[in-house]
């Protein structure tokens, strides 16, 4: 049984809503990325998505585009992302999912990638622009190295394709709550619950729901129907804002504790500042109400 499956099994047994975090490997630089991953784990994040920076992130909104640019500028790459995972793995208990556009994976070679990712301690892989129809061989190669292939499902996904993803996916399914690129929003999309119910009709596999999550209320709301909520752009915004602060990792830890409902005695951090709201505005919404 994979570390991902174990984690979701435990969440269900304890009746808790999981929190999946997304950060870009190498943002703001590789050493601090390592500190951030350890902080996320300490704060109780249940799954860590490690984003591989890419030159052309066409499914991402401005917040994660900028993170990708910062990471590439500081030496980020697929290889560097795997080294980062290898470095933090002994200190991190949460499962780690590599989140990448497909071209860097193809460039390394899927077989070589699977081997290196497994030896670095990666648990699962999500290739953002590799739809189910293209993923058969990819999934088998990953599975041979013990890696889970995670599929995205969108409000536009048909019943037939949900069924295929449920059959082919391992670990969990990642539902995206709205059309569009990544980015934090004021509210969880109204169609999110309907999507999760449609997926549930096909599978009992755990479901994480993302795109727009930025508050404990969102996490609680998502917990009403999904196994976990994914926080991405809101967290990446915080990292951008605090990137010059010596307390970066600490702030990340506080933020995730706050998202998880203020458990473990953390105080609520200050709301994100005006600079952050501005950096998000092009993405169509403020990071948090």
């Amino acid at each position: 049984m994979s570390r991902i499956t174990d984690t979701f099994g435990r969440l269900r047994a304890e009746g808790r809503t999981g929190l999946v975090t997304y950060t870009t490997a190498g943002d703001p630089d590789l050493p601090r990325s390592a500190e951030i991953l350890k902080a996320l784990d300490r704060a109780g994040a249940d799954v860590l998505e490690v984003g591989v920076p890419f030159s052309d992130p066409l499914a991402d909104g401005p917040v994660i585009q900028r993170a990708s640019e910062r990471a590439l500028a500081s030496g980020g790459s697929l290889r560097a992302s795997l080294s980062l995972v290898a470095r933090v793995r002994p200190r991190v208990s949460a499962p780690i999912v590599v989140f990448s556009y497909v071209n860097p994976l193809l460039r390394m070679g899927v077989a070589a990638f699977a081997k290196e990712a497994a030896s670095a301690g990666v648990d699962g892989v999500l290739a953002l622009d590799l739809p189910i129809e293209e993923a058969e061989e990819f999934r088998e190669t990953l599975a041979a190295s013990g890696l889970d292939t995670i599929f995205l499902l969108s409000p536009t996904t048909s019943e037939a394709r949900i069924g295929k993803a449920a059959a082919m996916g391992r670990g969990f399914l990642y539902g995206i709550s709205r059309l569009g690129v990544t980015g934090a929003r004021d509210q969880v999309a109204s169609g999110a619950e309907a999507l999760v119910r449609r997926i549930r009709a096909h599978t009992s596999m755990p479901i994480a729901l993302g795109f727009g999550i930025s508050s404990p209320e969102h996490v609680a709301e998502v917990g009403g129907y999904a196994d976990a909520a994914v926080v991405g752009s809101a967290l990446v915004s915080l990292i951008a804002e605090e990137s010059h602060s010596p307390r970066l990792a600490e702030r990340v830890e506080e933020y995730v504790r706050w998202l998880k409902g203020g458990s473990a005695g953390a105080s609520s951090p200050e709301p994100l500042g005006a600079a952050d709201a501005a950096s998000n505005s092009a993405g169509g919404g403020a990071p948090r109400a």
Binding site: G61, R107, D129, P131, E133
Partner: protein
């Protein structure tokens, strides 16, 4: 003269959109089903005689097709070799071949009930063509354009605005065509229910490479008849510039079964074949996935897309259409590249010798033809696709000549 689309032998990619090992559909999940719907709509439209007749009517009465083939006698003489003929896509309405595809897809969008069109543009020719088609059919039009391209193609930016389109500036990445496509795809994925993405070349996820090639294949169907009328036989070689490669595919398509006709695509050699200073995918690239399709791309060892350079905005792109990669792999088409400097010289030659200002993109094909004409000798016939007119490039050329 104008063959109907439905009467032509079809060369479709396989069911998953592959030409050999190139093509496919590498898109975020949200776009998969909308693209499948687009594919169904397109396949139904091309079999619908009313759709085909309406497009043929517009190509004739609105675009001014067929465009002529001109015997470039003085250019041939100056090149001192083969007899050169020019397929005059520069004479199509809006000044380039791009209108053939823009009208076809805009009609398809209307048929699908989509009233909002998004498009990307590099040189601005596809943006102008799309803005034109949208004005004609009463559709809302948003064109994404890289900031660098907006600066060097200012005339086309103004033309698009006059035609009622909203031009959106893209400041990300290399600020050229690739980044405009990223941004157009982000718009599409966000507004997919009401929006039609009108992609301008034989690029992107299936069915775009097929659909754009078929809308452009009118070029080759006309030219194949015209060259035989004018020269008495098929040409020895056909030359076309290749950015994404839609004018070249449109021209090559009708000649694929004519095994004695060499098909030559000309890429942008830029300053030199050094990382970041050219856009010759077959000279400096390798197989990979960019913007929805598996093809030859310019990438670094980590799989990130390299910056490109060309004096010509329309050729300044890191990927080539997947069908070109396939034709090359099969040995059916050849690919070469031409430097900025040679393209600039060809631009001037064509202006002085034939009274035609070519687009800088098309000037690459002319420059390569000079070499080829010499190599083939006076008994040979070369047909060049003159894909667009050069008015848009006059300022760029003026600036480049002043710097010399």
């Amino acid at each position: 003269m104008m063959a109907q689309m439905s009467t032509v032998t079809r060369r479709d990619p396989d069911a998953r959109g592959y030409f050999g090992e190139f093509g496919g559909r590498f898109v975020p999940e949200t776009l998969v089903e909308p693209i499948e719907a687009l594919e169904r709509a397109y396949l139904a439209a091309r079999d619908d005689v009313r759709f085909v007749a309406e497009l043929d009517r517009l190509l004739k009465d609105y675009v001014g097709r067929p465009t002529p083939v001109s015997d470039a006698a003085r250019l041939s003489q100056a090149f001192g070799g083969a007899r050169v003929f020019l397929k005059r896509e520069d004479l199509a309405h809006t000044g380039a071949h791009k209108i053939n595809n823009a009208l076809g897809q805009a009609l398809l969008a209307s048929r699908m009930g989509k009233r909002r069109i998004v498009a990307e543009t590099g040189a601005g020719q596809h943006g102008v063509a799309t803005a034109t088609a949208c004005a004609l059919l009463g559709l809302e039009c948003h064109v994404y354009m890289g900031a660098e391209d907006m600066d060097r193609q200012a005339l086309n930016v103004f033309r698009m605005r006059l035609l009622g389109a909203e031009v959106r500036r893209v400041d990300a990445g290399s600020r050229t065509l690739k980044d405009a496509i990223n941004e157009a795809m982000r718009d599409w994925v966000t507004n997919v229910d009401e929006t039609y993405y009108l992609l301008g070349s034989v690029l992107g996820p299936h069915p775009y490479p097929l659909m754009v090639r078929e809308f452009q294949s009118v070029i080759g169907r006309e030219a194949r008849v015209q060259i035989v009328e004018l020269a008495g036989r098929l040409p020895d070689a056909i030359v076309a510039c290749v950015g994404g490669g839609s004018n070249a595919m449109g021209m090559f398509d009708a000649f694929l079964d004519d095994r004695d006709v060499r098909l030559i695509g000309v890429e942008a050699g830029g300053e030199q074949i050094v990382r970041g200073r050219h856009a010759a995918r077959f000279a400096g690239g390798s197989a990979g996935v960019l913007q929805g399709t598996r093809t030859f791309i310019l990438q670094d060892e980590d799989g990130n897309i390299e910056l490109t350079h060309s004096i010509s905005a329309g050729l300044d792109y890191a990927a080539i259409g997947p069908e070109h990669a396939w034709l090359r792999a099969m040995g059916r088409a050849e690919y070469a590249y031409v430097s900025d400097a040679d393209a600039l010289e060809a631009f001037q030659s064509l202006a002085r010798l034939e009274g035609i200002l070519p687009a800088l993109e098309s000037a690459h094909a002319i420059a390569y033809t000079r070499r080829l004409a010499n190599e083939l000798g006076p008994s040979a016939i070369v047909l060049v696709n003159l894909s667009g007119r050069g008015d848009k490039d006059v300022q760029t050329v003026e600036k480049s000549l002043a710097e010399k």
